[in-house]
């Protein structure tokens, strides 16, 4: 099992990669939930339950992926 610090570094790299590629990702995965690991989208689904099933089927440890909901490019999120 990776250490907390290794997991944090991986999480930071995934977040940076997601931010750098978000325009392309928003076009391709609009309204989906995606899982990112090692700068790669390893699974996508319509909702969290479906995504967790896909990750389990692929033998990917769901605790080590960054999960993001993808807002379509013509939408913005304003938190209430």
């Amino acid at each position: 099992m990776v250490s907390d610090l290794e997991l944090l570094n991986s999480s930071e790299e995934s977040l940076k990669w997601f931010q750098e590629n978000s325009i392309k990702i928003r076009e391709e995965f609009a309204n989906k939930i995606i899982a990112i690991k090692n700068k790669e989208i390893v699974a996508s689904a319509k909702n969290i339950n479906e995504l967790l099933i896909f990750l389990k089927e692929k033998n990917i440890d769901e605790s080590e992926v960054l999960i993001e909901f993808i807002v379509p490019k013509n939408e913005i999120v304003i938190l209430g």
């Binding site: 930071e12 977040l15 940076k16 931010q19 325009i23 999960i67 938190l79 209430g80």
Partner: protein, 143 residues
Amino acid sequence: MKIKVFYDKDSKQLRVPVIVKIPHKRISSDFVIDTGSPHTILNYSNSLRLGVPHTEKAELIRLGGRAYQSYLFNRTEIVFKSEDNKEINEIISARILKPSSPKAEEIEMLDRCPNLLGIDFLEKGWKFFCNLEKDEVYFEKID
């Protein structure tokens, strides 16, 4: 001791990568900085990943024109990375929003809500510095 915050120019959100831990379980995730939120919110998806019990009722929280029952989880440990590559741990009483019905629309709405790092985090002795022009955004512990 500083924690770097990342500015997402596309979504115009400030995000910080973290590990969220409860006893016997941890997940990789990130929080959106929301100084408009009085409380730190752990989103529904992450509460499912962690297996957090939804038992202790807290406030009703309004989001997107709807009111959601929130549930309190007192032992949420959030692990941040400092700029000098060390772990920083904070224990927070996180609120979790739970759908009031199994309607797909409501679950979808909560799936879309990110984790929010609220004012209660700053109350733990952190100051928040934000200069977007110079890409200098961080939390720093008050001595």
